[in-house]
Structures are given as C-alpha cells and as structure tokens.
C-alpha cells in the first residue's frame, strides 16, 4: 500500500486561506477541513486513517451519554526525577495535561456499544505521543480488573509510540503489568479485543495491543516493534513500502481484520454478540 509513499499528484495546491485546509499526513493531499472532519479524518484520496483524539474515538464507538470515566485522577509520576536536554519530565507531563485536557495518555471507563456494556480504554497520541507511562499502565490494569469483576468485555484502542523513556524501567515494566492484566482476563474467559490505530509501535505493540482475542486494525495503521529507520540501518537495505502497515500484518497473520473507521462500531457490536453468546 505504501501509505506514506504516495506521490503528491492529487495534492490540491492551496496557498490561500490555509485555515480552510487539512493536510493528509500520508499522501499530503490538501482536503477541505470541513470534508476532512466530516470524513472522520479518513483521507478521501488515499484512505489513510489519521489519528483521533480520545473524545473523537469515544464518540465514534460508544453510545451517546453512556461513557463513565474510571480513574480519571491518575497522572504521570516522575519516578526517576528525569531531566533531559529540554528540561524536567514533570514539566513536560504538566504541559501535556494542559494541552490535551487529559491526565494521562489514556482514558478508561465504561460505556455501551450499541447497547452492549463494555469496559473501554482509549489511547490518545497527543499526550506525549501516546507513550506508555506508569499512569497509562496502571489505568489499563485497573480497567482490566474492573472488567474482570463485572464480567464485561474489555476493549483497548491503542495509539502509541511505545514506552515512555522519561519513566525509564518503570515504563518498560508496564508492558509486563498490562499483560498480566490480560492474562487474568484470559483465565477468567473475559473477552479482550484490541484495536490498533495509527501508530501502534514499540512497547505497546509488544504488549497488550498484540494479544487481543481479536486484533483489529484501521486501514493503513502503522504497527511494528522496531522503528523503520533502525531496521534499515541494521539490515542495510530498504524496506518494502507496505512494511509495518496493518495490511502487511494481516498478510503475516497478526491481525484478524482490518475494519474501516465508519464501520468499526457496528463491527464491534457484531463481534461482541459472539463473545457473550450463551
């Protein structure tokens, strides 16, 4: 597919009134902002599914008025007193909170999907690149325990660059921690559905996102463990265009189904009929 390699031949030139236009991150096409939003950020030129905020995602998937947030108070913790070239992590985290109106890179809660009650967690890439901080991991685990207790299907929508370096090893351990939560659901036969959205990489792809009973991805989603650049440097060769796309992973057996954004909610409720069949 080569989502990020398409030529710009379809790109509308639009020097005037840039505030009217959205630019597709994949094919660089210029789309009227209104059309872009109406199309829930799916590019009409290349069908790429751009990132959504957690609010947009919940609106897309959860019955109106049914969402109730869990553990909203959980925030990043600066376990390492981490300071890098740009300053302290604590400041960076606070800036992310201010910018996004979220306390962490994930929102968890309960809600209904076409009247089926679920526990849902939605990552938001705007919050420190959707990175897996200890707060993120903790919320994922607590939501899993909630799903376990109330015997509700658990759905995680991933969107993440991977572990959060600023929390060092504590971030890495969230991979084990979240998977331990999923393991508990498996033992108790509670459904767990993973939805991988653009991008789902690094430590998130290598933990809860990849072990769904059913792994669903949006078209064009980038999914992978190692970064493209790192791999090219390692193997000293160019990678195929469709490398690490959802389509590539489907072909290689790791994704159950690629589902279009506007069909996702109904697809989920269809699937949930089977997970709760008796």
């Amino acid at each position: 597919m080569g989502w990020f390699k398409k030529s710009k031949k379809n790109a509308v030139q639009s020097d005037a009134k840039p505030e009217l236009w959205s630019v597709c991150p994949a094919c660089k096409a210029h789309i009227y902002k209104e059309e872009w939003e109406a199309n829930i950020k799916v590019c009409p030129e290349c069908a790429f599914n751009d990132k959504l905020s957690y609010k947009e995602r919940l609106q897309l998937l959860i019955d109106e008025g049914s969402f109730k947030e869990l553990n909203k108070e959980i925030k990043p913790t600066d376990h390492l007193k981490f300071v890098d070239a740009k300053g302290p992590y604590s400041e960076k985290a606070n800036a992310a909170i201010t910018k996004t109106g979220m306390n962490e890179s994930i929102i968890t809660g309960t809600g209904n999907i076409n009247n089926i009650p679920v526990v849902i967690a939605v990552m938001d890439f705007r919050f420190l690149g959707g990175s897996l901080g200890s707060g993120t991991g903790d919320k994922i685990l607590r939501a899993a325990e909630y799903a376990l207790k109330h015997k509700r299907p658990y759905i995680i929508v991933s969107a993440s660059g991977g572990a959060r370096m600023h929390e060092g090893i504590v971030s890495l351990m969230q991979m084990a921690k979240t998977c331990a939560g999923i393991a508990k659901l498996n033992k108790a036969k509670i459904p767990y559905i993973s939805i991988l959205t653009h991008p789902t990489t690094g430590g998130v792809s290598a933990s809860f996102a990849m072990v769904g009973d059913i792994n669903i991805a949006e078209p064009g989603t980038m999914i992978g463990f190692a970064g493209r650049r790192v791999i090219e440097e390692t193997i000293k060769q160019k990678l195929p265009d469709d490398f690490q796309t959802a389509e590539y992973l489907l072909k290689h057996g790791f994704i159950d189904k690629i589902v279009k954004r506007n069909e996702m909610k109904n697809f989920l409720s269809n699937v949930l009929q089977y997970t709760t069949a008796k």
């Binding site: 376990h79 200890s134 060092g168 971030s171 999923i182 508990k184 996102a209 990678l239 490398f243 290689h252």
Partner: protein, 316 residues
C-alpha cells in the same frame, strides 16, 4: 581489554608485568616493589569499582570478557541438555534453553546468548533474539510447567533483533505473548540480569517471581545511546542519558524493580568468573528454595501483585 575508566589501572598492571619480567633476571630483585605495586593496583581497582558512573557500569555490563551464558552453562551448572526449536519456524540462537542442574536442583534454563568473538557473535546475532527465540523460550517454559521444574532466565541482550524478517514474523507478538503467558506460568520463574538488560528484548524472558541483578549489570527501557539521540538529539550524550535513566542495579533496587543485587568481585564479573558464579549460584538457589515452598495459586497471585505494584499511582 581495558575499559576507559580502567586506564590508570591498566597502566599500573602493565608496569607490574614489565617489572615481573625484569625480575626473572636472577641478578635483580624487585619483589618488594612488585608487591607494593600489586597492593596499589588492588586499592586502585577497589576505588575505581566503588564509584562507577552509570555509563562506566554500561561498559562493564557489556565487557566482552564478562561471563556469558555459555560460561555459566560450562562452569556453574553441573548439567545442561539443550533443547532446540519453536515447533513452528526455526531455532533461534539469540536465545537458548534446556534442562539444567544447579547445585543438585533440576530446572529449565533459558537465556540470551551473546558471543565473545566476531564469529560467535554473528552466529548468535549478538544476543539479539528473533521471534523464534521468544517462542522457543515459551515452549520450554510450558514444558517446565508440565514437568514442574522451576525456570531460570539469564538476561543479557542489547535488545530484540530489529530486522525486517523479525518484524514480519512477529517480534512484537512473540514478546507480548511471553509477557502474558509468563504472568500465569505455574512454576517459579527466577530472572537474573547478568549483563545488558535491553528493553523489550530482555523483558520478553524477564517476567519472574524474583528479578536479580549482578551488581554491574544494567537494565533499561532504551539504550543510553538511543535515548541520548532522541531526547538530547546527540548520541554522544549517552553518559548523561545513562545517568538519567537510572539503569544500574542500585537504582533499580530502589525503584522496586529488582529484588536482590548479586555482588560482583572487585574489578567486575569479567575479572573473576569463578567468584561471580559462586555468588550467582548462591543467589539463585536461595530464591528457588524460597519459591519452592509456595503453593501455585499463591505463587501466581504474588507474581501478579508484584507487577501490579510497579508504578502504581499514588496521590500527591
């Protein structure tokens, strides 16, 4: 091979060697000078190793003479029967495993395999495992579960192999599956970080009831070089990144990630394999004894709680 920070010690050792050679001439006698220098060297070694920076420790953890899994197998375990293959695609050499005996105690040994020569490093892909390695590891853990054998994992890897084929065959899936399955494996899992604990590639066989670290090993979410080039935009800032990431055994003990630090001899594990292994052996056996007494249900519950506690949010 002398590490950077060992330079003064290396110079001193060289002088001792020279003097020892001169001393072969029966006409001279440098015995007392040599003895004095040796004492000085011993003190210097102690001093150097007592105040290693995080970046120094990274160098020690990566030292090519540091004991590798093949050394442990040969010298610390009294028996080893290697078992091959993931029953699906291949037999990785970045992770090896099999039945092993330690101090009379039978167990399943799994660990990263680094090399110490170009040839052995190429054969084992520099200790960077492919999906087949993680899947072999899981198969052996499941076998250990069937036979009620405890699992011992030795961690020493720069990370999982970042290759095209590895991605195509599911590096992410293989690690994720191991994390999930290890959480509820019904036998004790003792993890020892013996050298480099490189990110998800380490954790993929690193979920355990007890996680031990050799004093000069490191364990990190990303290599200091990688972190520096991203957050400092300059790979040369690796020493700063190493410090900031808190990747040494002391820091990790403090953070509650590591349960015990296994002491290394003065001069580092590479300076005295046999002393190192004595300590590693003692530490593993102690943990095996501890977890052997716990019921399976309790074992898995404790393991779960251990990970649930890591980074648990607390107000304020």
């Amino acid at each position: 091979m002398a590490l950077n920070f060992e330079q003064p010690l290396s110079d001193l050792t060289k002088r001792i060697d020279e003097l020892t050679k001169l001393n072969e001439d029966p006409k001279v006698n440098f015995n007392s000078e040599i003895a004095a220098l040796k004492k000085e060297a011993q003190t210097m070694r102690g001093n150097l190793y007592s105040k290693l920076s995080a970046w120094d420790t990274v160098q020690v953890a990566r030292h090519p003479d540091r004991p590798l899994i093949r050394n442990y197998i040969k010298d610390m375990f009294s028996d080893f029967i290697e078992l091959h293959g993931d029953r699906c695609f291949g037999d990785d050499h970045g992770i090896i495993g099999g039945f092993a005996t330690l101090g009379g105690k039978r167990l399943m040994l799994i660990g990263h395999q680094k090399g110490n020569s170009l040839e052995s490093n190429i054969a084992s892909n520099f200790g960077m495992a492919s999906p087949e390695g993680y899947r072999k590891a899981l198969r052996l853990m499941k076998l250990a579960e069937k036979y009620n054998l405890p699992v011992v994992c030795l961690i020493d890897t720069p990370g999982a192999y970042p290759g095209m084929e590895a991605e195509a065959r599911g590096q992410a899936e293989a690690i994720a599956k191991n994390l999930t399955e290890m959480a509820t494996l019904e036998v004790p899992i003792i993890v020892v970080v013996t050298g480099e604990g490189g990110s998800g590639g380490a954790l993929g066989i690193g979920v355990g009831d007890a996680v031990l670290m050799l004093a000069n090993s490191v364990y990190s979410v990303i290599s200091p070089e990688g972190c520096a080039s991203i957050l400092w935009r300059d790979g040369k800032k690796a020493p700063e990144a190493a410090e900031a990431l808190k990747i040494t055994a002391d820091s990790l003990l403090e953070l509650g990630i590591v349960d015990k630090i296994i002491p290394e001899p003065t001069g580092g594990a590479h300076y005295d394999h046999s002393a190192t292994m004595k300590e590693v052996k003692k530490a593993i056996l102690k943990q095996l004894e501890k977890f052997n007494k716990i019921s399976t249900r309790k074992l898995i519950e404790k393991r779960f709680n251990k990970y649930a506690e890591i980074g648990k949010f607390r107000k304020g």
